[in-house]
């Protein structure tokens, strides 16, 4: 099976759940299924939830302390011993601080290491700009051999972690701190290079990833009230990108808005623009953080401030349809 969408009623009943909550839990399940899986974390195993793997089998969680560069290369070494290895920490440290280790060891040697830090984006909230990673997709997407997945909800995160665990080679999985609405039913499965059309429409394509998927669905509801039918696609596989689905959609709608909790430089919007520019040039608007760091605040406040909420997507669509 591929994916099953929840109805709005089912989604409301499921409540909000963070993608990071799927991390340790899914690793424990994989261990139970016989996978030789390890997590290497850097003093954040409680926050990332890799501590759950440690609770299931202490030797499976390798805590290197506050040393992210060592974290990535210890994971690399474990993978050379045949282990399937996931790394932790927060996205800002787990990618940026260890970028050279991810580039020159994990990707250059094409090792079986899954970089899956949590707390990406402004939805980290009160910790502020130093902790709100907005360039990670850009950093990871540029690396040869790296695959990039951005799950939209808890179920998608479970599936992304399983997909990475069972596919050899480097992966980046972007996980978040904040609870996000449920989009997918239990058992839904992501595909590498896939995407999910969550809602069909002929007037505009909205391609979103991560928590922006829920915002895009909200925006589509609002747009419908104004007579604009939006097609909403969850582009959870940023690399490889599902170009075929994108093409089919924009051939119908003729315009696209991308939405991501990430800088507009180098993320989903850029990936979509790179593809469409060469295959089907069409007008595009970018919903994302515009060349700025984050700041402290509540999650909803921050989504509004950085024009990442449903209202911002609605405005972008209207600007495009004008």
């Amino acid at each position: 099976m591929a994916i099953t969408l929840l109805t709005p009623q089912e989604s409301a009943a499921a409540g909000n759940k963070a993608t990071r909550a799927a991390y340790g839990q899914t690793l424990v399940e994989l261990l139970g299924e016989g996978l030789d899986v390890y997590a290497v974390d850097a003093d954040l195993s409680g926050s990332t939830t890799t501590a759950k793997l440690g609770a299931a089998d202490p030797k499976r969680l390798v805590n290197v302390g506050i040393a992210e560069q060592n974290m990535i290369d210890v994971a690399a070494g474990l993978s050379l011993a045949g282990k399937v290895v996931f790394t932790g920490s927060f996205a800002v440290f787990g990618t940026g601080r260890a970028y050279d280790q991810i580039r020159n060891t994990v990707c250059y040697a094409n090792l079986n290491v899954k970089v899956a830090p949590t707390h990406a984006g402004v939805s980290v909230g009160p910790d502020g700009g130093s902790h709100q990673m907005l360039e990670d997709i850009s950093l990871m997407r540029g690396l040869p051999n790296m695959r990039v997945l951005v799950p939209a909800d808890y179920q998608a995160a479970r599936s992304a972690i399983r997909l990475a665990a069972t596919t050899p080679g480097p992966f980046y999985i972007r996980l978040g701190r904040a609870g996000v609405p449920a989009v997918y039913a239990q058992g839904s499965q992501l595909e590498l290079g896939g995407s999910a059309i969550l809602r069909e429409g002929a007037d505009v394509t909205i391609a979103a990833c991560g928590l922006e998927v829920a915002q895009a669905l909200k925006a589509a509801d609002a747009l419908q009230q104004e007579g604009i039918e939006a097609e909403v696609i969850d582009m959870y596989s940023i690399k490889p990108l599902d170009g075929a689905t994108l093409l089919e959609s924009v051939r119908k709608t003729g315009r696209i808005v991308t939405a991501e909790e990430h800088s507009i430089y180098g993320g989903l919007g850029s990936a979509v623009a790179e593809f469409l520019a060469q295959n089907h040039p069409c007008p595009q608007r970018f919903v994302g953080v515009k060349d700025s760091f984050g700041t402290s605040g509540g999650i909803d406040e921050l989504l509004a401030k950085f024009e990442l909420d449903a209202a911002a997507i609605v405005a972008a669509v209207k600007a495009l349809c004008r």
């Binding site: 390890y38 290497v40 390798v62 290197v64 302390g65 040393a67 560069q69 060592n70 990535i72 290369d73 210890v74 994971a75 690399a76 070494g77 474990l78 993978s79 050379l80 011993a81 045949g82 282990k83 050279d100 280790q101 580039r103 020159n104 060891t105 250059y108 040697a109 094409n110 090792l111």
Partner: protein, 274 residues
């Protein structure tokens, strides 16, 4: 091999190093020549359990060249050991070659992991040693670091981790040739005392003359036998060892000899057929 044979093997490796670098026209002779005796002791002295006919043998000991720019000494060692034909050494650094400027494990058998960005090998070796701890074959993981490389902070993250985890199947060899690109390590940013630092981090330390074959064998075998802590073999070496005009010269860190210089180098190394 006995000591005489090992010294002869090291001499042949040094000849291969300067010849391949001259042919390539670029590369790193100084830190390759300083490590030639260490590599010979490991691969030909019976320290490293390895089989060139079966580079992926699960029971093998592992060697990681953390100072990846010393690729020529690794390539010359692997070729002399029989991992690939010595004639391939002349392809070093050329388009299409398996002998990349820095070691690429996806291209060349015998290279455990790609290196080149300094400071990473000890972490990789520590993770590998941890992953092999329960292996019935009990492999030992060796890694070779430069002394300048110790300026990378990650080395000390790894040193702390390896001691904390009591990774007694891990041996870090430091090629203490005293020089880095910009000059003497003590002038650029001194990592000394290297022995005191590793001891303070909880390692065992064995200091050795890195050009004394008997002493090297004793040190490396003792390090391998240690069963309660990771061991640092601090090998005191001479950069450019064996080539008169390269010895002790930082300028020969990353520069290939020309044709005339190669002739002098080979004469220094006693290669008659040059």
């Amino acid at each position: 091999m006995n000591r005489i044979e090992l010294e002869e093997q090291a001499r042949r490796i040094r000849c291969d190093i300067v010849e391949m670098l001259a042919c390539a026209g670029s590369g790193h002779p100084g830190g390759s020549l300083s490590a030639a005796d260490i590599m010979t002791a490991l691969y030909f002295g019976g320290v490293l359990k390895h089989d060139p006919a079966d580079p992926k043998d699960p029971a093998r000991d592992r060697f990681i060249l953390s100072k990846g720019h010393a690729a020529p000494v690794l390539y010359a060692t692997l070729a002399n050991a029989g991992y690939f034909d010595r004639s391939e050494l002349s392809t070093l650094r050329k388009l299409g070659s398996r002998l990349q400027g820095h070691p690429d494990c996806l291209k060349l058998p015998g290279v455990e992991v790609s290196t080149g960005s300094l400071g990473q090998g000890l972490s990789i070796a520590a993770g590998l040693a941890l992953g092999l701890q329960d292996d019935p074959a009990a492999p030992t993981v060796f890694t070779l670091l430069g002394d300048g490389e110790l300026q990378e902070g990650q080395v000390w993250e790894a040193a702390m981790f390896a001691a904390h985890r009591k990774l007694s199947n891990l041996v870090a060899i430091v090629d203490n040739n005293q020089l880095q690109i910009d000059g003497c390590i003590d002038d650029v940013c001194s990592p000394n005392s290297i022995a005191d630092k590793f001891l303070a981090f909880g390692w065992k330390v064995i200091e050795v003359d890195g050009h004394d074959m008997d002493a090297l064998l004793l040190a490396l075998n003792s390090a391998k036998a240690c069963d309660d802590a990771p061991v640092c073999v601090l090998a005191h070496t001479v950069k450019g060892k064996g080539v008169s005009f390269m010895e002790g010269q930082a300028g020969w860190h990353g520069k290939a000899p020309n044709k005339e210089q190669l002739a002098v180098a080979l004469a220094d190394l006693g290669k008659k057929e040059a």
